[in-house]
């Protein structure tokens, strides 16, 4: 219950924060601008709209996850609000989980809004070309949700990482750099595997494989290209990477909890 109380309060804080609205505004603007860009192309307008739309959801979602995620703990320390929370009968790990859930709810609401914006633009596009709205390529339209769902799982992982960095650093700039670095590396781990496979058995190979398995493999969640090109994404793949995401989040939150439990709040 206390976890939910903190989560609700975190959500309330986020939706009263101006940064969130700025990011959401730009994301929706990008999706809307895709309609203009789509007029420049010949055919496949909806492909361009879906490409830009999914990319916007991913990028702005990641920005929300990183910047609000880091602020989750650091802002509490900087504004000294943490003293009053932790002097209440709230175990520290529950505080962390509550904060985390609160931001997840915020991100989910934002992603749903952005996804709805994408659909709206797609419908406007069809109507503008005088197409029968009931005769669109429904498979791709429905598969967009698979991509959005996996973007959300990815953002859950990113948020957990941002939270972890903010539990032991007191500088938001430093935590932001760490998290952004983790985000970029997380999208390049696939290269690590390919390199690892090529190497002969050696210390190097083991090291590279270690990093491949234990860095966040964010490429797992990227099915945007497949969805746009109508390549089938199986339900078993989706459940497998969901499981991966949940396991990864559990480890990161556990580590955050251990670090946070040991920390002094001067």
């Amino acid at each position: 219950m206390k976890v939910l109380t903190i989560a609700r309060n975190t959500f309330r804080e986020a939706i009263r924060d101006r940064i969130l609205y700025n990011l959401l505004f730009f994301a929706l603007l990008m999706i809307a601008v895709s309609l203009l860009l789509a007029t420049l192309t010949v055919g496949e307008q909806s492909k361009i709209i879906i490409d830009i739309g999914l990319a916007s959801i991913n990028i702005f979602g990641a920005l929300i996850a990183i910047f609000l995620g880091i602020g989750l703990i650091i802002k509490e320390i900087e504004k000294r609000t943490i003293y009053n929370i932790l002097s209440k009968p709230v175990p520290r790990y529950q505080f962390i989980i509550g904060k985390y859930l609160g931001l997840l709810i915020t991100i989910m609401v934002n992603i749903i809004i952005m996804g709805a914006g994408l659909y709206l633009i797609l419908i406007i596009n069809e109507l503008r070309w005088g197409h029968d709205i009931f005769n669109v390529n429904l498979d791709i339209w429905l598969d967009i949700w698979k991509a959005i769902y996996l973007i959300f799982i990815e953002l859950m992982v990113v948020t957990a990482i941002a939270l972890m960095f903010s539990t032991f650093s007191s500088s938001s700039t430093l935590s932001a750099i760490f998290t952004i670095a983790a985000y970029i590396i997380g999208h390049l781990t696939e290269e690590l595997r390919l390199i690892g496979n090529k190497l002969p058995d050696s210390f190097m190979k083991s090291t590279i494989n270690f990093f491949y398995y234990f860095l966040p493999n964010l490429d797992n969640f990227n099915v945007k290209g497949k969805v746009v090109h109508g390549i089938y994404v199986s339900a078993s793949y989706i459940s497998l990477v969901t499981l991966y995401g949940l396991l990864y989040i559990s480890v990161v939150l556990l580590l955050s909890g251990v670090i946070f439990q040991r920390r002094d709040f001067k």
């Binding site: 219950m1 206390k2 109380t5 903190i6 309060n9 309330r12 804080e13 009263r16 504004k79 000294r80 609000t81 003293y83 009053n84 929370i85 932790l86 002097s87 209440k88 009968p89 709230v90 175990p91 040991r262 002094d264 709040f265 001067k266």
Partner: protein, 312 residues
């Protein structure tokens, strides 16, 4: 004394902070021993930087001691459960300023597991107690410092605590604000609660504390009743009056008192306590009006200076 009667027990507590990455270690408190009894108002007195806040943070489980232990209500200070019985107001309270008073109190109430009608009644009572009924739906960032301090006290009382810990509750407040806080503390004592508060201002302690502990440079230099610790002797009594005739003032000066005249008032310093009644009588007879009579003791600053002087 019964174990149950000891509300706070601090044993040989030391906290060492490392400054910077490889900086030197600084001991914020050194070998602190302290006991606070049930039902008393305990003043934790010391100049800024003496280690008061560090001690309080250890009591609240916000930082971990380097050595030694602290117990609250017979449980270790790191025990989360014991916090159900504590109310705490941090130093210069920083709260979620995007919340309204009501949302703010509801949030902390829920952290104590309160809900429904019970929580609502409690919130309303507290808003009345601290005089913020009119600001119930105002966001905290619109609050004055005094209002923040009052809502801070309200949140500290939401769980009907047995022990109330207040870190510098009166700093930065005007005389009226301080009086309001003092009244609330006295009311809590009447309800049988234990109050532990820190301050660096002596009159705060003088007026309401049963006992005080004086902390300097991380070490407890004195514990006990204030008049036991400090020079209990009254140095002089200051009488402030109006409409006192020149002749009478001259007479008083001749009797050995020093007299200062301001635009409206006169201030008469009487060294000998036994002569105060006589002088008051004189003023009344001359149709003068007594504004105040204040016995002046040694100030804490003077006490500190004496202590530091004695130590060095």
């Amino acid at each position: 004394m019964n174990m149950e009667d000891i509300v706070i027990k601090i044993e040989n507590l030391t906290k060492v902070f490392k400054k910077g990455f490889r900086g030197k270690s600084v001991a914020a408190i050194k070998g602190l021993n302290l006991e606070v009894n049930e039902g008393e108002i305990f003043g934790f007195l010391g100049p800024n930087g003496a280690g008061k806040t560090t001690t309080i943070k250890i009591l609240m489980g916000l930082i971990y001691p380097t050595t030694g232990k602290a117990w609250i209500l017979n449980k270790e200070a790191t025990d989360v459960e014991v916090k159900n019985r504590i109310g705490f107001l941090p130093e210069q309270p920083y709260f979620y300023d995007y919340l309204t008073s009501r949302e703010f109190l509801r949030f902390y109430g829920q952290l104590f597991g309160l809900e429904g009608d019970e929580l609502r009644t409690r919130m309303n009572n507290l808003l009345t107690l601290v005089g913020l009924e009119d600001a119930a739906d105002l966001q905290l960032h619109k609050f004055s410092k005094g209002m923040l301090q009052r809502i801070g006290i309200a949140q500290a009382l939401i769980n009907r605590p047995d022990l109330i810990v207040l870190d510098e509750p009166m700093s930065g407040l005007d005389p009226i604000g301080r009086k309001e806080i003092r009244d609330i503390i006295l009311r809590l004592k009447e309800d049988g609660k234990t109050v532990f508060f820190s301050t660096h201002i002596i009159p705060d302690v003088e007026m309401i504390c049963d006992r005080v502990g004086i902390l300097m440079k991380g070490e407890l230099v004195n514990v006990g009743r204030l008049d036991e610790i400090m020079d209990a002797k009254v140095k002089y009594v200051e009488i402030i009056a109006r409409n006192v005739s020149k002749e009478m003032l001259a007479y008083m000066e001749a009797m050995g008192s020093s007299v200062y005249e301001t635009w409206e008032h006169v201030s008469i310093k009487v060294e000998d306590e036994n002569r105060v009644d006589g002088i008051l009588q004189l003023i009344k007879e001359g149709k003068g009006r007594v504004v105040s009579v204040i016995p002046q003791r040694e100030t804490l600053e003077e006490h500190f200076i004496k202590k530091i002087g004695g130590a060095s």
